[in-house]
Symmetry: C2
C-alpha cells in the first residue's frame, strides 16, 4: 500500500516546496518510487523539477475535477524513480469552483482511491501544499496518512503552528481519523543565529520527538538548484543541503520501520 | 485625501509583513499618520506590533462584514503616529463567508469610503496581504491606489510576478482602473550571493524604474524585532535593516512628490 504524506504549513516561504522536492529526490535515490503532487497554484515544485508550461496538459486541477486519473496525470521527471502531477494557476479558483460540491474536501482522496493503476508503480506520494489552510490544503490533509511540517527557525513560524495543529485536529475529528503528524523539520537553520537557536529549542521543548533530529541548514545550493530545474541532489550532490535531505530521508525511513 | 497602498505578493515568505510594518514605522517617524490594516489570517503584522489576542476584539473581519467602521476598528500601537486594525484567523473563512455577495470584492473599498472619521486622522493606509490571490488580496487591490510588491531575490520569486501582474491587469479592467504599481522592492538581499545578484539584475532589466533603488538587505535584526513586538526602528534603530526601511520611506515620498 503506498503512503501519502502532505508537506504543509500555512506560513509562507518556510521551505515546503524545497522539502517536498528534495526529500522526494533523496527517497528516490534509495530506490523508493515517489510521486510528487503539486497542489500549489504557483507550480514551484513543477518548475523546480523541470516541467515547463508546455508539459502541463494534465494537472492536479484535472485530477481534482476527475477529468484525469492519477495514473493518467502522472508524468516522469528527470530523476529516476520520481514522477510528478504538475499544477497551473487554474488551481487558484478551486475554492470557488468546487464550493457547491458536498464532497469538496474529499476530491483528492477519492481520486487517489478510485484509481488502481498508480498503486503498483508508487511507494510514496508527497503533496506540496500552498501557503494557506484553504480547500486545497484541506483536501491534502483528508487524503494523507500524515503531515510533514517544515518549520522555519524564525519568530513568526511558531505562531502559525498552533493554528495548523487545530486544523489537523478538526480534520481528524471530521474526515480523516487516521491523520497523524509525521514530524516537524527545522528548515533554513543558521546555527550562528541566536533567534534560530531559540526557536529550535522552543520547538523541541514543546513538541518533543515530533521534531526530526535532522535539521536543514540554510544553504545557497538549495535555492540555486530550482533555477537549473533539478533537486539539489542532482545539482550539487555533496552540498550540505543535499546531505541534510539524505539524512532526513534516512530518519523518515527509520522512524517508519520502528513504528 | 489619504492614500491606500497594498503590500502584496502571493509568493510566501518574501517580506510582505516585514515591509508593511517597518515602512509604516519609517513613515510614522517622518510625521506621517499611518494605519496598518492586517488582512492576513496569520495576524503577523498585529503580533509584530504587540497586539495580543486580548486586544483583537475589533478586527479586519468585522470591517469587511461592516459590523465595525474603520474608525471604530483602528487602535493605537506603541509607535507614535501609527494605528492598526488587527486580524484573527476568522479571516481565513472570508472566501466562503462572502462568496454569495455580489459586492464581495468591494467590501474593503466600501468600508474605507463609507466612514468619514478616519480620514481626518490618517495620511496613508498600508495593507498587509496574505500569500495568495484570493478574495482578501482582491479586496485589497480594489481598495488601493497602488501596490507595493516585495520581491525576494530568489529564483521562485520571479516566477510568481507575471501572475501577480496579470491579476493587477484584471482588477484594473474590471473594478479599479486607477490601480497602479507603486514599486517593486528587493528584499532579503545578500550581495555576496550570485543568484541574488542575478535576480536583482533580471528584475531591473525587465521592470526598469518600477524597481525601487533602495534594496532591503538580509539583516537578522529585522527577524528579531517581531519577537519584541516592535518594528526594527524601535528595536535597533541603527541597524542596516532600519536604515534600509528609512531609505525606502524617503524614496517613496520622493517619488510621490515628483509624480
Ligand atoms: N535550507 C534552505 N537554504 C537556503 N534557501 C532555502 C532553503 N530552503 C528553501 N530555500 C529558499 O527559500 C525560498 C522559500 O522556500 P520554498 O519556496 O521552498 O518555501 P515554501 O514554503 O514552499 O513557499 P510558499 O509558501 O510560497 O509555497 C525559496 O527561494 C527557496 O529556494
Ligand atoms: N530583510 C530581512 N532580513 C532578514 N530576515 C527577514 C527580512 N525580511 C523578512 N525577514 C524574516 O523572514 C521571514 C519572512 O518574512 P515575512 O513574514 O515578512 O514575509 P511575508 O511575505 O509576510 O510571509 P507570508 O507570505 O507568510 O505572509 C520572517 O521570519 C521575517 O522576520
Ligand atoms: Mg511552495
Ligand atoms: Mg506576512
Amino acid at each position: 500500500e503506498p503512503r501519502v504524506i502532505s508537506v504543509a504549513n500555512q506560513k509562507g516561504g518556510v521551505g515546503k516546496t524545497t522539502t517536498a522536492v528534495n526529500l522526494a529526490a533523496a527517497l528516490a535515490e534509495q530506490g523508493y518510487k515517489i510521486l510528487v503532487l503539486d497542489l500549489d497554484p504557483q507550480g514551484n515544485a513543477s518548475t523546480g523539477l523541470g516541467i515547463g508550461p508546455d508539459k502541463r496538459e494534465k494537472t492536479t486541477y484535472d485530477v481534482l475535477s476527475r477529468d484525469v486519473s492519477i495514473n493518467e496525470g502522472m508524468q516522469p521527471t528527470n530523476v529516476k524513480n520520481m514522477w510528478i502531477i504538475p499544477s497551473t494557476t487554474d488551481l487558484s479558483s478551486a475554492d470557488i469552483d468546487f464550493m457547491d460540491r458536498k464532497d469538496r474536501i474529499f476530491l483528492l482522496r477519492s481520486a487517489l482511491s478510485f484509481d488502481e493503476a498508480w498503486r503498483e508503480k508508487i511507494d510514496l506520494v508527497l503533496i506540496d501544499c500552498p501557503p494557506s489552510l484553504n480547500l486545497l490544503t484541506l483536501n491534502a490533509m483528508v487524503a494523507s496518512d500524515s503531515l510533514l511540517v517544515p518549520l522555519q527557525s524564525e519568530f513568526f513560524a511558531l505562531e502559525g503552528l498552533s493554528q495548523l495543529m487545530l486544523t489537523v485536529r478538526e480534520i481528524r475529528a471530521s474526515a480523516n481519523p487516521d491523520l497523524r503528524i509525521e514530524g516537524i523539520v527545522m528548515t533554513m537553520f543558521d546555527g550562528r543565529n541566536r533567534l534560530a537557536q531559540q526557536v529550535d529549542f522552543d520547538a523541541r521543548d514543546t513538541l518533543g520527538d515530533l521534531v526530526f533530529e535532522t535539521v536543514i541548514p540554510r544553504n545557497v545550493r538549495l535555492s540555486e538548484a530550482p533555477s537549473f530545474s533539478m533537486p539539489v541532489l542532482q545539482y550539487d550532490g555533496q552540498s550540505r543541503g543535499a546531505q541534510s535531505y539524505r539524512a532526513l530521508a534516512a530518519e523518515l525511513i527509520g522512524r517508519r520501520k520502528t513504528k
